[in-house]
Amino acid sequence: MAILIKPDTKILIQGITGSFGGRHAGLSLDYGSSVVAGVTPGKGGQFFEHNKHRVPIFDTVAEAVRQTGATASAVFVPPPFAADAILEGANAALDLVVAITEGIPVRDMIRVKRALAGNTRTRLIGPNCPGLVTPGEGKDSHGGCRIGIAPGYIHKKGSIGVVSRSGTLTYEAVWQLTSRGVGQSTCVGIGGDPVNGTSHLDVIKLFNDDPETKGIIMIGEIGGSAEEEAADWIRQHCKKPVAGFIAGATAPPGRRMGHAGAIVSGGLGTAEAKIAAFKAAGIGVAVTPSEMAETLLKMM
């Protein structure tokens, strides 16, 4: 089952002719994912070639969807144009738009979020995120669906769901699981920006309803209150064991720690408050980031 994406999900890449988008389109093809289209305005009719693959490029997302049946997109478009690209994906009625782009102005994302309010068709993941992976059954999880920039080979097909605001910390958790022989259902990076499309809680609800997912790792960081909201829901409704880690206990207040959303302001968004919310909800708290997998496995 997995959530959001399956090994046969048809993917289009917005910004496939850029170096970043092209590189990761190639890596997704190598992983065995179905990259069926690229979109770069003005380059419609050309092809993205990678090894034996030949992916058609379209001028618009609507055209790409019509011709190829793509249902999910990865946005690698530069920050000034990314909001427009996200909304183009929603306008084309994609199921999923995954915005990888880092550095989109907050005001643009406020407008995107407003425009998507009430849209039950398209889910936005990100921006400023590593994307999603549903591992496949082949060697090093080959044959899965990889949308974004995560390393595919560290995954293993299995039953743990991972959701995180941070890319490399997600890989760390996934690697800890895989190294112990424990696989993942789907791994979702929701991104480090203050305004994002999908929250921890949205993903937790999907994992809770997914029969294949048996346990969940939730990785958060300082800033905002999304982790607290997820914890509150978990306390009341979640049927599955959840372990978590919060990064940023040592971060100085008022400073943005790399991610635009990772900031303690006005005494709110502290690691301390989030960890307390986790504990109150019965979430297993990994004392160090080295123990994320271990903490969950002890609960199962």
């Binding site: 406020i110 995180s164 490399t168 905002g224 990772a262 980031p289």
Partner: protein, 401 residues
Amino acid sequence: MNIHEYQAKQLLARHGVAVPLEIPARSIPEARSAADQIMGSGASRVVVKSQIHAGGRGKGSFKNGFQGGVKVASSAAEATDLAQAMLGNVLVTKQTGPEGRTVQTLLIAEGAKIKREFYLAVLLDRASSRPVIMASTEGGMDIEEVAATHPHLIFREQVDPALGIMPYQARKIASALQLKGELFNAAVKLICGVYQTWWESDASMVELNPLAVVGRPDGSEALLALDAKISLDDNALFRHKDILEMRDLNEEAPLEIEASKYSLNYIKLDGSIACLVNGAGLAMATMDIIQHFGGSPANFLDVGGGASQEQVSAAFKIILSDPNVKGILVNIFGGIMDCNVIASGIVAAVLETGLKLPLVVRLEGNNVTQGRNTLAQSGVSIITAGSMADAAQKVVQAVKR
């Protein structure tokens, strides 16, 4: 990016927000002439305000012993004396840290007779992903304290970004501030202008504290933004060339400026263990685990996803220019990157900088075996580690020795 009070008020004034008569001054003669001009306009007093990117200026003290970064003078001559005491001197406030900030600009303003003080701010409400206006009758105070002790005295109004602020919303806020008559109408205009400033400038926060009702010499009253603070969304500066020109590099840590030239995200802290990590979340987690095992992190440093040899080398130089650093922890999860390339970069950087401090390296990911071999065969003294916990314990031990 943060800007100075006088720059914030320039942006606000562009959007119709009423500010006092005030003139920035960068030298004693400029301060003198500004004070003359303001006194000449009929003001009975002038205020001399130090311009630094930190709060608590009024209660701050200068390293030369002079008390107070914001002072009132009753003559231009007195204002000039105050300017003399402040300009070029280091002001320490509760927000600057003990090192303080050098005052390079003063704002010379008309001394208003304050009758009532309010708080007004626009910021992002993260929970709803919409702008929110916060207002309070308890102006001139620490708003976080008001929020903690008297939350009912803070009025909030959310703005629909598709509509922008509607006048009725400004009227609700003016009413909550208990303003009447002419002042009520002035408040509606001002509140709309403050929101416009936030939206049009791509600000992350606009804060007036205080916004005040002041008495004019002719007996009339006016609503003015007496103090203002604006911080801006760095990601949007590309479309605000005029605001980008307001950047004051004197207010930024030199090492952080240097780091930004190499697209490194560096924040200096007070500890002794430097860290070099790829990815913001992993970098924060690395700081946390150092502290967990009894050490203290000297910095946050995210080299990003790429971590080229130039970046790694620049990162080492920046880390090593902090004299408090006694040991270094490199923590790289090379998902896509080739760990061997990173290992070569680390070895090159160590040789180039002639590193003498203990260096612990934890490498994981793509082509890691080859990377570890490169480290082992380099002849450079490197302590290698398996997990993050192992790495943190080893560097804490090494620094203790």
